[in-house]
Amino acid sequence: MPAVTLSAEVRTTLGRRATRLLREKGLVPGIVYGRGRPPVAVAIAAEALEKALKGGARVVDIVIGNDRDSALLYDPQPDMAGEHVRHVDFVRVAQDVAVEVAVRIELKGTPAGQAEGGVLQQTLHELTVKCLPRDIPEKIVVDVADLKIGDSRRVKELTLPHGVATAVDSEVTVATVRHQVTAPEPGAAPAVEGPAEPEVIKPEGRAEAEEEAGEKGGEKAGAKGAEKEKEKK
């Protein structure tokens, strides 16, 4: 992955109104921090940032005036539609200090169990790895071609690139092939009907009071009934 350089300018006006105006100008607000130096609020060109993100850049060179830092692109916040970035963090990193980053997991191959009616299900989509900034892999490819129904691929079975380690529990499942749960046929008998209306949750005190009232009512009604029977006799 070639090194990406992003130039940023220092933001002096902070807050919701200022950042909204920035976004209208085609800039993205961000912050640079880490390595024991004070944080700096910055603004970056949205186009360049989005190009870097879509290109898979993880560590970028950020230029602020005369300063040049190597920084990890961290926690880019997408907007509601997921098309643009609203804010981004840059964590200053040293090239000889390991960092923790989440790397995308990509499944490769068609599992053998799929031919038998199984369904491949990916349960872990990102793996947190620890490595030097220059060793951050773009993705981790997992071969699932030999998985039969009921088989799983776990974290301990992954082959990580040299210099990359993970602290994720080795027993965590990455992908599994499961039996397909078939949908009911059209026109088949409907499932067991539940109640037409949900049960109403009553506060504890009220529920008890009502129960007591019900019991007393029942007793009274019982006593009245006995009296009436006596009168009849």
């Binding site: 879509k54 997408p78 509601m80 369904v119 299900q121 990916q122 397909q180 049960e199 109403v200 949750i201």
Partner: protein, 138 residues
């Protein structure tokens, strides 16, 4: 039987207004492809059930469908030819409140063409505009 809550604290709710955009549930989190809502509105339990069935038939024995919303809100109505007054009507059906950005359902374990077909069938059953979204890679 359409979807509805099993237990509720209050039987009837006020209608309210749907305002703003979704801030949660806006990402494809379980599958690979999702259907993102573009309008504000209500999706009833019946509509969700119809959508689920449409996707199930389109997917056949492959892949998995994840429905990300649930109809929690009770909508009451008065019977036909009833005079006004005498209080609020009885709960008639339940709806899920959706806002622009909500990922309504997701499909995983199938190639894009098949997911596209299934989600297209789903969107025909819904009262809101939608679009197909993929899992974000950044």
């Amino acid at each position: 039987m359409p979807l509805m809550p099993k237990r509720v604290k209050y039987r009837k709710t006020q209608r309210g207004r749907v305002r703003g955009n979704a801030t949660r549930g806006t990402e494809v989190s379980f599958g690979s492809f999702g259907l993102q809502v573009l309008d504000r509105g209500w999706v009833s339990g019946q509509q969700l059930e119809a959508a689920r069935l449409a996707a199930s038939y389109a997917l056949g024995t492959e892949g998995r469908l994840y429905v990300r919303v649930f109809p929690h809100k009770a909508i009451s109505a008065k019977p036909a030819e009833t005079r006004m007054g005498t209080g609020k009507g009885e709960p008639e059906y339940y709806v899920a409140v959706v806002k622009p950005g909500t990922v309504l359902c997701e499909v995983g374990g199938v190639p894009e063409e098949m997911a596209r077909l299934a989600l297209q069938r789903v969107c025909h059953k819904l009262p809101v505009r939608t679009r197909l979204v993929k899992r974000r890679t950044w």
